[in-house]
């Protein structure tokens, strides 16, 4: 009887190990975040808020996660607009060192920030979607620090489908423009337009204007 119980225990243990091994081929559990910073107009004056978001992300992301920060300027679909991108190492000490380096790069970027005349949001989103796809992360976020008012330079075309499937798009600190104050419906229509466009391609859109509540930022 005792022997039988021990055999059953051993069989259960082996079954548990087998079940655990079977789960090895699970999807990537890492998170990838792409932060788009609007550098047009008065947004350059909101460096402190953008800084807080970067700090929050550096403090929240874990080993193996990926983070990229890019600016939205006149033509955002360009590698040159990516300020810094990295995938944190599996070792916590190396990941911390990478975060310190990231922080230094961001400080230098904020110091030399210049205002852009136009706002190419779709170009930035396309760039973000491609990079997130490359990371193969299981959880993907695009954070847009912008008023979501797109203004393209003459001749630029952005009539394509955004690669945002299974991506969480979060609009941060969406400023109300002067015309929005005159007619708030313009503001609401602008948000709805983005929400609809993201949903059509299989993504999720949400908005966080209160940056003191960043703890829910990376919630899927």
């Amino acid at each position: 009887m005792m022997q039988a119980a021990k055999n059953a225990l051993a069989a259960l243990t082996l079954a548990g190990i087998a079940a655990a091994s079977a789960g090895c081929a699970d999807a990537n559990r890492n998170t990838a975040v792409y932060l788009l910073l609007d550098t047009s107009g008065t947004y350059t004056e909101e460096i402190d808020r953008a800084n807080a978001i970067v700090n929050y992300l550096l403090g929240s992301l874990d080993t193996g996660d990926s983070l990229a920060v890019a600016r939205i300027d006149s033509a955002s679909f360009s590698e040159e607009d990516i300020v810094e991108r990295t995938t944190f190492d599996g070792q916590p000490s190396k990941a911390n060192e990478q975060k310190r380096g990231f922080r230094r790069t961001m400080t230098a970027f904020f110091d030399d920030l210049e205002s852009a005349p136009y706002t190419d949001i779709r170009g930035g989103l396309l760039q973000a979607g491609e990079w997130l796809e490359e990371t193969d992360a299981g959880e993907r976020h695009i954070l847009i620090f912008s008023d979501l008012k797109e203004e393209l330079p003459p001749g630029h075309r952005r009539d394509f489908e955004l690669p945002l499937k299974n991506t969480d798009v979060v609009a941060l600190n969406v400023a109300k423009l002067r015309p929005d104050q005159v007619d708030p419906q313009r503001y609401l229509d602008r948000l709805d337009s983005w929400r609809q466009e993201v949903a059509e391609v299989g993504g999720r859109f949400r908005m966080i204007n209160d940056l003191s509540r960043l703890e829910g930022l990376l919630r899927q």
């Binding site: 079940a19 655990a20 079977a22 403090g59 874990d62 070792q91 000490s93 310190r100 400080t107 904020f110």
Partner: protein, 483 residues
Amino acid sequence: MSFNDLLTVWADNPALSGAIWLILLVTALYLARQPAHELFTATGRLAERGLRTAAHALRRGEALLARRNREVLLGMAAESAERDIEREFERVATMVNRDLSGYPALQRELSQIITQIDEDYRSSTQEPPTPPPWTEAVEALARIETRDPTVARVLEDIRGTLEKSSQRALGEYRKESRKRHDLLKRMLPSWRKLSAKLHDVSGQIMGLEARAAKIDSHMERYEKIRAGEDATVRTLSSSSLTQFLIAGLVLVIATFGAIINFHLIALPMSEMVGGNSYIGPMQTADVAALVIIMVEITMGLFLMESLRITRLFPVIGALDDRKRRAMAWAAFTFLFLLAGVESALAYMRDMLAADQQHLIQMLSSAGESAAGGSGEGGPANEAALRMIPAIGQMLLGFILPFVLVFVAVPLESFIHAARTVVGVVAIGFLRTLATFLRVGAAASRAAARVLIQLYDFVIFLPLAIERATRGALPNGRSRGAGE
């Protein structure tokens, strides 16, 4: 065809049509009364028999389980009693080996002491002084009646000589007596030594007597278990439940200890194996930390087995003493090394936590000023303060594996007690289920009767007409179809 169509099939007036339907239905039910009653009765009986059979089977299963549980309980108790008796015999053997091995030497010593005492005693025996041989001649001379002065002088001389001789003899006697007293005085330490030795022997014999009384008590218990008395089984069952609860409580405490241990080494493990790989739903680092803890517990089990404190693996217990000792040393060595590894990991954890803390401080402080930092340590006193939790964690990492070794003892009790406790719970479950089935059987029988009564209630009108008609018939042909 809808319900309304069906309702108005006999007439346009729904009430009239409904009444026709009702009459038809009641008539049909009246005509089908006998087979309907039989159907209800048969169904009720079938359900009753099925449920009773199931209840009976469960009762038999319960009885089998109870017998098996009783056998397990008695078997375990007998094994425990055998262990106790064996342990007592081992203690007696140790005592006998330790104390009685010195008995030949003690006997020699006692013989020597006794011989010496005997010799001294013999030497000290008193010999009465021999009277002078010529006293009779003196007495003869003294009886001569003469007035001769010569004889008187001779007798005077003899008296003087006798007095001198007597004084000499007394001196000799006193000297000899002194010698004997000296000999007796010399015997005193030997007597004391002899008394002490015999006192020691008495103490040892008393110890053996106490052990023998314990063995008697264990044997009495063992005999009761062998006899399989109900009172003994009840006592054992209660004791088993108590053991189960106590061992379970200790195991819960040990589990918390293991969780603390896990958190102590999980983070630094990610530094060693990386934090990105997964095994199933768990990080490889977590699995590695768990494996280390499990291996430590396993080594603890082997150590306890090798020391014969627990008996979960009969193979280890059956090894000869030399191999068993070697195994115990091997298990202890592995445990010691793993404890050292854990201690190092705990230190690394502290370093990583400090690094993380520094990073968070840097991020939370003003961007530009903090961004320039490169992770250097704080002031010297801060570093010294940080050493206290670091040392604490290292000690904890070193001690916890050895603490977890003792999990083997409650684990063994838990496994043994669980066998009977699970059996008791299963018996209770089967008993409850059997009771429910019996109640269900009785209910199905009653339900059949209630259905028959309800059926008759629906067709009460034709039944009343039938009774009235039969009452009016001659010869009282009143035995209705369903009565």
